[in-house]
């Protein structure tokens, strides 16, 4: 008898908490799951928003044979790859320096993190002036060092470089904070033991610090790739829906936007969305597998 009473109480409690979860679940179903389903369904139709015609896999065929789609895939990967290649090592190095100093740690953390809390749209608008070919701060800096200046966003050869600069600047603070959290969690006993063995600072960094950062690097890679593959705001501000100049800034999401909202080709846009989902899924699985092997 005494055993059954608490069981009933527990069952009632869990039911109540599901009721509290209901608004969130309804929100997820309505605003995430249903749009995902609808997008998948639309990918098999020629749809202008009001009328729909079943076209089976034709939209997928058109997307996969479109040179502008593959150009957008290239742009997306190019920008994401160089963003990660620069931001993660640079952020780790800066975090290591900040971790090694005893004063002003919080000051530097704040300074480096500030760009990350800035709106990407606002940052992109400011960067369009920073990268201005004639009056921009960056070209002024390069010129004063005697280095050749660049057209940056005005030429397809240099525009992606401009975006990489912005994204590194914007993401660096996040990398630093995440790396710092990991650095501060590494046991000091490891460094003390290395000191006794006569290891130099660089040796400790290479043989103790870096091997203990594997989990953080894996996390940053996964997060960075997913965000990189969904890139929209900054390239839209710089180059509009078609990623001007010469589609050099058109990412996959911009391709989807251009076909869906600028051209009323919702079926094509939905097919591209499904393909993007598959790419992100596969890449994330590969990243996780690689990270697990390294860890």
């Amino acid at each position: 008898m005494t055993a059954t009473v608490p069981k009933k109480k527990k069952s009632g409690q869990s039911y109540i908490w599901y009721l509290f979860l209901l608004p969130t679940i309804v929100g997820i179903v309505l605003f995430i799951l249903y749009p995902v389903y609808e997008s998948f369904r639309l990918s098999f139709f020629r749809s202008s928003g009001a009328s729909e015609t079943w076209v089976a896999l034709s939209n997928y065929e058109r997307v996969l044979t479109s040179s502008s789609f593959w150009n957008s895939v290239y742009n997306t990967f190019y920008i994401a790859f160089f963003q990660l290649l620069i931001a993660i090592p640079l952020g780790f190095i800066i975090a290591s320096f900040i971790n090694s100093i005893t004063r002003f740690q919080n000051f530097f953390k704040s300074v480096f993190f500030l760009p990350h809390v800035t709106s990407m749209v606002a940052a992109a608008m400011i960067f369009s002036f920073v990268l201005h070919p004639e009056m921009g701060l960056f070209n002024y800096f390069l010129d004063s060092l005697g280095l050749p200046t660049s057209s940056w966003l005005s030429h397809p050869d240099s525009s992606k470089g401009g975006v990489v600069l912005l994204t590194v600047w914007h993401w660096l603070g996040f990398v630093i904070i995440i790396c710092l959290a990991n650095l501060q969690a590494i046991s000091s006993e490891l460094y003390e033991a290395a000191d006794i063995d006569g290891a130099s600072g660089l040796q400790k960094w290479f043989f103790i610090t870096i091997p203990n950062m594997g989990g953080t690097f894996a996390f940053l890679l996964v997060i960075g790739w997913i965000a990189g593959l969904q890139r929209f705001n900054e390239v839209f501000v710089f180059g509009g829906a078609s990623g001007s100049p010469s589609r050099s800034l058109q990412t996959m999401v911009l391709f989807i936007y251009e076909r869906g909202f600028s051209g009323f080709e919702f079926g094509i846009a939905s097919a591209a969305t499904v393909i993007l989902f598959i790419i992100i899924l596969v890449l994330t699985l590969i990243n996780l597998r690689l990270a697990r092997v390294r860890m």
């Binding site: 009632g12 509290f20 966003l153 005005s154 525009s159 509009g240 078609s242 100049p245 010469s246």
Partner: protein, 456 residues
Amino acid sequence: MHKRWMRKVGMVGAVAALTLAACNGEEDAGSGDDATGNGESSSSGDADTLRVALIGGYEMSSTTDPITGETVEGLEVIKDEFESQNPDIEVEFIVMPWSNHVANTQAMMSSGEADIYQMPGINDFAAQGMLEPLQPLIDEDGFDLDVYIDNQVEGWLTQGPDDDDLAIYGLPAFGDSRFVAYDGQLFEEWGVEPLSDYPDMEEILEKAEQMTGENPVTGEQNYGAWFSGEHSTLFQLVNAAEGQNRQWGEGYEWSEIEFAFNSDEMVTGLEWLVDINEFTPDGNMSAQGNEQWMTENNNIAIRLHAESAEIIQQVQAQGLEDRIHVVQEFKNDEGIGGMFAGSPLSIAADSENQDIAFEFLKFTASDFFQEFMWEQHSGVPVVEAASDWASIQELELMEGVLEAAANPWTPRYPWSSSQPRYILQTAVEDALTGGTDAEDALENAQAESEQWLEDR
């Protein structure tokens, strides 16, 4: 225990009620916002409610212009005037921003949010059968379309899903035009003759070249021309072909359209753009380099494919009335050429208030509405009567602006909101950035556009 259970249910109910009350409170707060004008709708008596969806930065109440510092009257003036003329009708305005307006309009139309829509993308919505054909309402009412500036109605002709010919699905309400603007002071300082009223490609290229370099009077670096290398450069190219008595192609329905993006005239036009690009600031391909345009320190002599919204308000705000002049874009032998622009108003096909909606459309052709939009929002009028207004006659360049509004290419390019637009723009950018030559770029654009037509 039963009581405890009831108490829990009661608590959940109370939380839910509070949540709903809070949500409702937010809605109430929202409806009090003047931007939609909904706040007053609840107090209406038996009046029919007409919902009008507009695009732009309109407010219901007066605001202060951030550039001029002057008070700008809000849409409540329009609402009051229309309602005083039509006591049985109440107007509600729904204002959406220009960003994402196509997607927003599509969503609003799908859910029947409004009776009247500002409809710059009229072709796509008419083709979906979402707009009401207006000719029967015009005939029934006897409304005289001659009140509009020439070609304004023709510019918005389009086809619904069941039409064999072009038909009226929208009436012009918000005017716009494209023209060539130039700085007379720079021309004078360089000792160059002002642009003729109808310049050709050669004249513009020659004068742009003459005025690129160090200004002989001020010593400042000047540029002969500026145009944006992104987004809309293709329309300058199409206009260059029109100036050579050619056009983008022909047809209106997708099944009948034939592109001529690779015609000799288009190639010549693109080569001209490539040549003139030499006399523009470095940043024009990313819509930069024109930071001093429309200021006292202007360093650009000729602005190609200028928009009325960019020029009119700034000329007045910066006191440049004597410096900035307007001449026409390239015209064919019939005096026609240049991109048609602006916004019409259309009635939703599923509107239950089509008769009173048409009353509002007629009202937007009145001097009251048009003069309000011109004086308060610098909108280019779409009615013939505008040329007699004192406020128009005071601003010399308006003569050219209104002329440009009367003789653009009509109806507007049917592909201007579809993939061929982006294909052609990319070809222009390829040529301007040296990625390929003009002929190859346009051959690619032609092939890609034809392929797109075939696949769709």
